[in-house]
């Protein structure tokens, strides 16, 4: 739709509505022998147009509410749903949902974490929301936890090979490391 089409459509609706209002006033005055003022008739005609709009919306609103009712999910699924959304259109990380739920159970409240290496999926805002109350470490801040999401860095792989108890593997490519820094 161009802006001209839009203006034309709005203008058409307004003119059609105006014709309804004027006709209502003329018919009412003819029927009552001019014994009635225009104001209540205009109000009633506008209310009639509003009622028509309500009627036109009824099916859509019923469908919208029914769709919402059918879309109910569990609390866990509700929180993690954004992980399966891809803002850029790229495919989502296949095991990210399960991994984040697994990580969330292990992070204490207020823990600080980093995702390394971070490859952009899921997006950082969604990741932060899902892992709250744990907080992402920013800038030069200290962090105790490192999440490997999709690929495990070489340093962490070496620790896994040495059975370091501070590194726990969820599945290939997904691991969590606790760094006991002084």
């Amino acid at each position: 739709m161009t802006s001209f089409d839009g203006v034309a459509e709005l203008g058409g609706e307004t003119v059609a509505g105006a014709i309804v209002v004027v006709l209502a006033v003329l018919i009412a005055r003819r029927a009552t022998g001019r014994g009635v003022t225009a104001r209540p008739i205009i109000a009633a005609s506008l209310a009639g147009l509003l009622a028509l709009s309500v009627a036109l919306h009824l099916r859509g609103v019923g469908s919208a509410l029914a769709q919402s009712g059918r879309g109910h999910v569990s609390a866990q699924t509700g929180l993690e749903s954004c992980v399966n959304e891809s803002l850029s259109g790229a495919p989502v990380a296949p095991r990210a949902v399960g991994f984040l739920a697994w990580v969330k159970r292990r992070l204490p409240d207020g823990a600080r974490y980093v995702v390394s290496p971070y490859e952009g999926l899921p997006d950082g805002w969604c990741l932060t929301t899902v892992l709250l109350p744990a907080l992402p470490a920013t800038g030069a801040e200290r962090f105790e936890w490192t999440l490997a999401l999709g690929s495990i860095p070489a340093e962490m792989q070496a620790k896994i090979a040495h059975h370091d108890p501070n590194v726990r593997v969820y599945s290939p490519g997904y691991a969590l490391e606790f760094d006991r820094q002084p």
């Binding site: 609706e13 709009s53 109910h72 699924t77």
Partner: protein, 494 residues
């Protein structure tokens, strides 16, 4: 059990605060009847949320944690002020408050069915929206901030001061996240799925408040309240339901703005300071919802003040002086609740990616060089308005046209036209001047940002239909509650 108890307690605090404000403003009598108490519940809930949450957001910026104890203390403060001040006014209040009842009686035999339908629809909507996932902008802006406040009670630097982490719009204000956090703290856990239903209840309270305010006009009592259809259209618009289901703040901001706009419209006709005082409460909350609502609130207040000034200049010699005090008070209240967050974001160098490049974006030359964007924005806005809201905008134009030609509705129609037109211009300006490509911005946001003017449009149309349906002129003395307004044909014959 704990979530339900917390929900009831928090809403009890909202109701007590809102009721105290209604008492302070003498909208309800000291000893209300059962009907008056019930009719005032919706407005009380809305006013409670709209006063407590923005005040706590300001306190949060000042370093006071967002916790229910502060909500409790603020509620006590409002209740104490209402108890002390309304005792002095008890004698005068005795005759107030029965106008809404008279208006309701005018619905005739249909009122039982109307009540049952409204309650059933509210309950069905609450159920339908109570179990939805947190996705899209809700997960990345609103609930991200809401959950942070729920767990950490303060503006944690890692989230709120970090340009990369503070959601897609780090400068968006704290009304919805603050409301969400208070609810979750009271319920004892983050009931994310339920929050969509809470937004639905707040929206219902806003529509209820609009009806309550319009019904306060005693002259409507001889007419069947046909204007209720305008409000019914608002709650039955699928686009509104879909936006609430997404957990977005646009419907909330639009509904709060609509209540404030209608209250201002009523003030301009009645010149009753209580209506202006009541208007600024939801307007301040709307301005604390999103940037679009902030702009729309400012232009709405500006339009109201300008129209009131012109009206006062034409009246008594001391008109401008009488105009200045209420509007200065309104501006001071708004500034107190809006400015702290803006100063805080500025102090932490937070910027929004969609924010127009100021001051260049204010230059007409800058906008003229972006005619393609202007055309794209207008086309998308019209398409959205017409496809999602049907005939509403055309009916609004017709109602304003009829109002402009009608004594008693002229000032209101002028105000609604000006405020809605300025809100549209402000939104068009935001889209036209932003540096974010419109090929991304329009498909991802236009379906909801039009709420900022379409929801006020619906409520303003309802008010104009009410005014046009009146048979008395507004220049006549205000009749007492439940008095019958004589039809024009019989006036002056007594």
């Amino acid at each position: 059990m704990r979530p339900l108890l917390g929900f009831v307690l928090l809403h009890g605090l909202f109701l007590i605060t809102g009721w105290s404000i209604l008492r302070l403003l003498r909208f309800v009598p000291v000893r209300p009847s059962r009907f008056e108490a019930l009719a005032g519940a919706g407005p009380a809930m809305l006013l409670g949320v709209c006063s407590l949450v923005p005040i706590q957001a300001v306190l949060l910026v000042c370093g006071v944690p967002l916790v229910p104890v502060v909500t409790l203390l603020l509620t006590f403060a409002f209740a104490a002020a209402a108890a002390v001040l309304s005792r002095r006014r008890a004698a005068r209040d005795a005759t107030e408050g029965s106008v809404v009842l008279a208006s309701w009686r005018a619905t005739g035999r249909a009122r039982g069915m109307l009540t049952a339908l409204a309650v059933a629809y509210l309950a069905f909507g609450t159920w339908a929206l109570a179990g939805l996932p947190t996705v899209g902008d809700d997960a990345r802006i609103w609930s991200l901030k809401g959950l942070t406040l729920t767990y950490h009670h303060t503006l944690v630097a890692d989230i709120f001061q970090n340009q990369g982490q503070a959601g897609a719009h780090p400068v968006y204000p704290l009304f919805q996240p603050g409301f969400e956090a208070l609810l979750f703290q009271a319920m004892g856990s983050a009931q994310l799925r339920f929050f969509h239903a809470e937004l639905w209840l707040l929206f219902a309270a806003a529509v209820w408040t609009g009806a309550y305010l319009i019904a306060q006009r005693p002259r409507t009592i001889t007419q069947r309240p046909l204007w209720l259809i305008g409000l019914a259209l608002l709650v039955l618009t699928p686009a509104v339901i879909r936006n609430l289901a997404m957990g977005l703040a646009d419907v909330t901001g639009g509904a709060l703005l609509a209540v404030g706009t209608v209250s201002l419209g009523l003030y301009l006709t009645a010149q009753d300071w209580r209506l202006l005082a009541l208007a600024v409460i939801p307007l301040a909350a709307a301005a604390n919802t999103k940037d679009e609502e902030l702009l729309a609130t400012l232009v709405t207040l500006g339009a109201g003040a300008a129209i009131d000034l012109v009206r006062n200049q034409r009246g008594a010699a001391d008109g401008p002086r009488r105009w200045a005090l209420p509007w200065a008070s309104a501006a001071a209240y708004m500034a107190a609740l809006i400015v702290p967050w803006r100063l805080w974001t500025r102090a932490h160098h937070l910027t929004d990616s969609v924010q127009p490049p100021l001051p260049h974006a204010l230059s007409p030359a800058f906008i003229l060089h972006r005619t393609h964007q202007l055309n794209q924005t207008i086309a998308a806005m019209l398409h959205q308005t017409l496809s999602e809201f049907g005939w509403l905008f055309a009916i609004f134009i017709l109602a304003c046209a009829a109002g402009l030609r009608t004594r008693g509705a002229r000032v209101t129609a002028r105000f609604y036209l000006a405020s809605i037109a300025l809100s549209i211009i402000a939104l068009v300006w935001l889209y036209t001047t932003t540096s974010v490509p419109l090929s991304f911005l329009i498909p991802t946001s236009m379906n909801r940002t039009v709420d900022v003017f379409m929801i006020p449009c619906a409520m303003a149309t309802a008010h104009l239909v009410a005014q046009l349906g009146e048979t008395c002129s507004d220049n006549e003395p205000r009749p007492r509650a439940a008095a019958v307004c004589q039809p024009r044909s019989t006036r002056g014959k007594a």
